[in-house]
């Protein structure tokens, strides 16, 4: 599976850790710009994670706000002792809220302390970006051969394994694996490439190749 944790984390360098220290300290001292920076830094990955785990865009939109509010409240109270673990802290909050949601049929918004002066958590711009990404993805998919499109759909939407797809399409499983791999790469790279050339102003920590 994913190799040694240190391998994965090893790619993160000091800039990211320093930024975490700065944000944690500033939010504890009541800096509202730091709260906005936190939302900018973690908004996209939190949405991606919630969507990956829930597969429900509406629930993702609801829980996103809860995650960010809970994170900001906890940081304002100085609950994070090790600023270097800010990312794990945010991931943990998102996972807990999602698990709580699934465990209980009733949402529990009352458990959240809703403070004043929250940063902008509206997601209209992000929703627009998601629509743009989706239409780019559709364009990318339309450039694939029909067989590749079929394999992609059976893989991503129906969740079928290459062996099953191979049976359904009268193909060798190796052919399915190859075509699936190429199709996924092609689509993700086209969507990413266009996102990067068309994006502006998003705060990212790290190098975008």
């Amino acid at each position: 599976m994913i190799g040694d944790q240190s391998d994965v984390r090893g790619t993160l360098t000091q800039d990211s850790a320093q930024e975490s220290h700065r944000l944690v300290g500033a939010i504890a001292n009541g800096d509202s710009e730091a709260e906005q920076a936190l939302v900018l830094r973690y908004g996209k990955p939190v949405r991606a994670m919630l969507l990956a785990r829930s597969r429900n865009p509406d629930l993702t939109a609801d829980l996103f706000q809860d995650v960010m509010i809970e994170a900001i409240c906890a940081l304002r109270r100085g609950q994070l002792r090790e600023p270097a673990k800010l990312t794990q802290f945010i991931v943990g909050i998102a996972r807990n809220l999602l698990n709580n949601h699934f465990r209980s049929s009733l949402r529990r918004p009352e458990s959240l302390e809703l403070p004043d002066n929250l940063p902008d958590l509206s997601n209209s711009m992000e929703v627009q970006k998601e629509h743009d990404r989706e239409s780019r993805a559709m364009n990318a998919i339309s450039t694939l051969e029909p067989l590749d499109k079929a394999i992609l759909q059976m893989t991503l939407v129906e969740g079928l394994k290459p062996g099953v797809i191979a049976q359904r399409l009268n193909l060798n499983p190796d052919v399915v694996r190859q075509r699936k791999l190429r199709a996924i790469r092609r689509v993700t790279e086209i969507v990413r490439e266009e996102s990067q050339t068309g994006s502006s102003g998003h705060i990212v920590v790290g190098r975008v190749t």
């Binding site: 994965v8 998919i141 359904r168 689509v187 975008v208």
Partner: protein
């Protein structure tokens, strides 16, 4: 900053988004892409593709049965009909022999168009078939540059047709780099281009057996070219058959070469 070139996402993205990744691994991947814009962009891109496919599903049609299978089925039906005809005739006319007693007829000649084409090459001229030209560089991702400087430098040399420099640099790309397989492939074809067939075969064979490698088909095709250059028709036939079975970009070229390999040189 991060030096990540997207390898974790390339490796785990599909399992993660399909929910088939073990929880502990999924959490580690999340903790990685929360701080890695390269992997996060891949997650978002595939999520967009999933939404797009979910919103506008593609009608999947089972491809027609391959013609050899259909031909075999038709032959079986024809054989049954012929057997039925003679069986009925034997019952209705028991005294008659079903064996033709008329004047000897020479065995029918197949229509010229159906005759197997004469081999266009003798086995000794197989090497003329070999396509040892360098393939155009196609980055499997659309990034302008790789994360590894050796890969960028190697591909710069490759584009300048400087195979010696390309091999020297590409073989230094670390195995764990996202472009390691690309580097291995292009180093292999450079060695092929320089007639260093043993080294080229070694590099390409490693890719040809890797079913998760995007260069598998290309590796099989160029292994066949090396075999052709060595006048080894049987090996060329084997590699080309495997390349065509993958139905990818090299299928047409591989089929044309398969048809041109004479039977006495290992062609079927």
């Amino acid at each position: 900053m991060t030096n990540c070139t997207g390898s974790p996402a390339e490796q785990w993205l599909e399992a993660y988004l399909q929910g088939t990744m073990p929880e502990a691994e999924a959490v580690r991947f999340e903790e990685h892409y929360f701080d890695c814009p390269v992997c996060l962009a891949q997650v978002e891109a595939l999520q967009a593709a999933m939404r797009a496919l979910g919103a506008q599903p593609i009608k999947v049609r089972k491809p027609p049965i391959a013609w050899p299978v259909r031909a075999a089925a038709l032959s079986a039906i024809a054989a049954l009909l012929v057997m039925g005809f003679f069986a009925t005739r034997a019952i209705l006319h028991p005294g008659q022999s079903t064996v033709a007693t008329g004047p000897a007829v020479s065995s029918p000649q197949p229509h010229p168009a159906l005759q197997a084409p004469a081999p266009s090459l003798t086995s000794s001229a197989l090497s003329n078939l070999a396509d040892l030209a360098l393939p155009a560089f196609q980055m499997h991702n659309l990034r302008e540059s790789s994360g590894d400087p050796h890969f960028d430098a190697g591909m710069k040399a490759y584009r300048a047709n400087d195979c010696t420099a390309a091999v020297k640099t590409l073989t230094r790309v670390p195995e764990q780099d996202a472009d390691a397989l690309n580097a291995q492939f292009y180093a292999g074809v450079c060695q092929m281009h320089m007639d260093q067939f043993a080294a080229a075969s070694k590099a390409l064979r490693a890719l040809a057996v890797n079913t998760d490698c995007p260069q598998q088909e290309a590796a099989l095709y160029y292994l066949a070219q090396i075999a052709l250059a060595r006048n080894d028709g049987a090996a060329a036939h084997r590699y080309l058959a495997r390349a065509t079975a993958l139905h990818g970009d090299f299928e047409r070229r591989a089929r044309a070469e398969l048809a041109a390999i004479p039977a006495d040189a290992g062609g079927k």
